[in-house]
């Protein structure tokens, strides 16, 4: 009887010990992920540089391509809880023709904020982008957003139309017919299955560690509350709406609805593309939007 009791105790102690060890290991790993340099070594070798700036209350990090060509800069805005890291392949593909800037939104990636800082709304993030643009000495830019980034760009284009020469919205969220976290997470999981051979998951882990779970969930809530369809009607800048044909997060019907709201928009479907198009298929993304970018650049020169 006593032996049985002892065995039970030993099992509990071993279980607790294992649990503590796993937690410690997890915390250590989490800390390591937080320390990941903001620009991946591969992109760094390809010429992508980065710098920090104090912008208002935030310290923001920006990646920039070596091409200092004249004309409008192209700014890439990342999606939910991700960072500009995921935009690096697209930035490099676009850098053959354009000067590309990739900021990390405040609170994400290398523009990390302390956990005590408040979670920013879509409008506040748009304000931050506007300030960031001015700090970098540009009046206007062509903006390319993915997923949640599209919501921020829509807010920016409505609030500061003078800053937006053109907009590319790829896989805009949140489909109003599936406006709930479980449904969005389910769609995201289905998308992950399609991207299994080139998964953006490892990048997402780094960015979640950097942003922190509190900010991640807070921003998800902000994303759900924001209605992109209520903003698009007021956008006057020429806009390209783009989706991959297999993207479960942004269905074709949703994109058509958005296009109907915008008089100056055009839509494009990239055959067989998925939701994280900018990361999984950057070259195809680049060649799909190149004619649109070239047209905006040309129109800007005439002005």
């Amino acid at each position: 009887m006593i032996q049985k009791h002892r065995r039970k105790q030993a099992a509990i102690v071993a279980g607790v010990g294992l649990g503590v060890a796993a937690t410690l290991w997890g915390m250590k790993r989490w800390q390591q992920l937080k320390q990941t340099p903001p620009v991946s070594p591969r992109s760094h070798h390809a010429g992508l540089a980065g710098y920090y700036q104090q912008i208002g209350d935030w310290r923001m990090f920006t990646r920039v391509t070596p091409n200092e060509s004249q004309g409008l800069p192209v700014v890439l805005v990342h999606g939910l809880v991700m960072s500009g890291r995921a935009m690096e392949p697209l930035a490099l593909a676009l850098s053959r023709d354009y000067h590309v800037l990739v900021p990390d939104l405040p609170g994400f990636g290398a523009s990390a904020l302390p956990a005590s800082a408040p979670v920013m709304s879509v409008d506040q993030l748009a304000d931050a982008l506007w300030l960031w643009l001015q700090h970098n000495g540009f009046q206007r830019a062509i903006w390319v957003g993915n997923s949640f980034g599209c919501q921020i760009l829509a807010a920016l284009a409505v609030k500061y139309p003078q800053a937006v020469a053109g907009l590319v919205l790829q896989g805009p969220t949140v489909d109003r017919h599936a406006r709930s976290l479980p449904r969005q997470l389910w769609r995201d999981w289905r998308n992950g299955r399609l991207e299994a051979r080139r998964p953006p998951g490892p990048l997402a882990r780094i960015d979640y560690a950097k942003a922190g779970l509190r900010r991640a969930f807070g921003t998800m809530r902000a994303m759900m509350r924001d209605h992109i369809e209520h903003r698009l009607t007021y956008i006057s800048a020429p806009t390209l709406l783009l989706r991959g044909s297999r993207d479960p997060v942004c269905p074709a019907r949703w994109l058509d609805e958005l296009a109907a709201l915008m008089p100056h928009s055009e839509t494009l479907t990239l055959r067989d593309g998925t939701h994280t198009l900018h990361y999984v298929y950057p070259w195809s993304f680049c060649s799909a939007i190149r004619p649109f970018l070239a047209r905006i650049q040309q129109e800007d020169q005439h002005e």
Binding site: R197, Y281, W283, S287
Partner: protein, 463 residues
């Protein structure tokens, strides 16, 4: 190397050649076409079984590769293309090949250190209790599967292939569909754009070999017979060799009776479907690539040309090549051939026409000191099969030693353990030395121009 997704057969030209080349580009041998250490361990035991059981085991192994009708309708072509490109190292290349499968071309690409993307792959679909000799029934029953595959990806051409001569064992429980990509999957597009800087060369490997077929739609065909030991006429009209073969297998027929021929289209396994050329031209123009087309009819024509290019490549590096490695269908290891400073000569199959091709080559070459030869086993005493004695006679062309590599001569053509054995056996044949520096694109272009004309291989610039 990751496991291929469902819907692409590993024991086939496209998948195996892709893996052989990818391994060479990763600087390692092509040790296992099966990609499965368990299967590699099982194969030698399978070889010890009596003939009937061995054939049954072979067919069972093939069946494991097959998919169901339902899976055919959900075939993930994009996922298969993703797998293909993910096998190669991610880096910039000075050139790339795309198009027809060809063993000699794999050696050429390996010497250059550049990738090749296949247009065609084999998708076996399970279908219980078939009669491999009943062409009419296969034709009718295959239509449903072909329709499912056509719907799975709208830019696919589906070639239903029925070859009771050479695929007899597999056809009992499966139907063969060779799928040709008529447009570039997004993964191919991405790979080519991302890894070929402006000014690089994209070679289209265009085998013009055709085969008489019964067309069932704009994108689907039924091909009876295949390139190998028997002739087109024998498949379609019969002959003494066909009657004898059928009698040998106890089949109550004089000849096969395939459905009426309505068209001639690119051969299912080796031919190139020309629809792919137009998207490649667009890609080359947009990316500033040089687009060139290598064109030939007989797949083995490339073997002569590549052997000559290899010889020049070795000589330029101060190496006197005295060793010949003869590949058989998918049994090849370009990494090993280069490391042994051997000239490769690839044969389509273990049949008499291939043996004759090798003989023509050997007769015109200065004698090799060593000849190493692999032999593919397909499990059937098929029409036109070249027996062991015939191959041994060819090995006698070697000045010092000619040897069959990893082949169990008594069990051929049912020597299934050769898949697991050939590569380690080949590596033991000679010391592995560093190969010459990678073959340049210019050398390849001048090589094909110089040696191609004699063997019916042409090179044309398309941009």
């Amino acid at each position: 190397m990751s496991k291929p997704p469902k819907g692409i057969a590993r024991f086939d030209s496209a998948a195996a050649m892709l893996l052989a080349l990818a391994n060479a580009l990763h600087d390692r041998p092509f040790a296992s076409p099966s990609q499965s250490p368990t299967l590699d361990r099982l194969l030698p035991s399978l070889n010890r079984l009596p003939t009937g059981l061995r054939e049954w085991g072979y067919a069972l192994g093939g069946m494991a590769e097959g998919i169901t009708l339902r899976q055919a309708g959900e075939l993930d072509v994009e996922g298969i293309a993703e797998w293909m490109v993910s096998e190669y190292p991610q880096q910039d290349y000075p050139a790339a090949f795309i198009g027809s499968s060809n063993g000699a071309l794999i050696h050429l690409a390996a010497a250059m250190g550049v990738p090749w993307l296949p247009q065609t792959f084999l998708c076996p679909v399970r279908a219980a209790n078939n009669d491999p000799d009943d062409a009419q029934a296969s034709f009718e029953q295959g239509k449903e599967i072909a329709a499912a595959l056509l719907a799975a990806w709208p830019r696919l051409a589906v070639h239903h292939m029925q070859d009771p001569n050479q695929d007899r064992l597999m056809l009992d429980q499966m139907r063969y569909f060779r799928l040709k990509l008529r447009a570039l999957p997004l993964a191919f597009n991405e790979f080519l754009m991302g890894s070929l800087p402006a000014g690089s060369t994209l070679f289209i490997n265009h085998c013009t070999r055709q085969w008489p077929v019964t067309r069932t739609s704009d994108r689907s065909f039924f091909q009876f017979g295949a390139l190998g030991g028997a002739t087109e006429k024998e498949y379609l009209q019969g002959g003494p060799r066909v009657a004898e073969y059928l009698a040998r297998y106890g089949i109550d027929r004089e000849r096969w009776t395939p459905p009426a021929i309505t068209d001639h289209v690119p051969e299912a396994e080796w031919g190139l479907d020309g629809y792919l050329i137009s998207p490649l031209k667009k890609l080359a123009e947009a990316q500033g690539l040089k687009l060139m087309e290598i064109r030939y009819e007989d797949p083995e024509a490339m073997s002569y040309v590549v052997a000559e290019i290899y010889r020049d490549w070795y000589l330029a590096a101060g190496i006197l090549p005295t060793r010949l490695t003869v590949d058989s269908f998918l049994l090849m290891d370009p990494w090993c051939s280069m490391q042994q400073h051997a000239i490769p000569f690839w044969l389509v199959f273990c049949t008499e026409p291939s043996a004759a091709a090798l003989q023509r080559f050997l007769e015109k070459q200065p004698p090799f000191r060593n000849i190493d030869m692999m032999l593919f086993s397909h499990g059937t005493d098929s029409i036109g099969l070249a027996e062991i004695a015939r191959w041994q006679a060819l090995l006698a062309y070697a000045r010092e030693e000619g040897a069959l590599i990893g082949v169990d001569e008594e069990r051929f053509p049912r020597d299934f353990a050769t898949f697991a054995r050939f590569d380690s056996a080949l590596r033991e044949r000679a010391p592995l030395l560093p190969p010459p520096p990678p073959l340049s694109v210019e050398k390849v272009i001048t090589g094909i121009q110089r040696y191609g004309a004699k063997h019916g291989v042409t090179l044309t610039a398309l941009t």
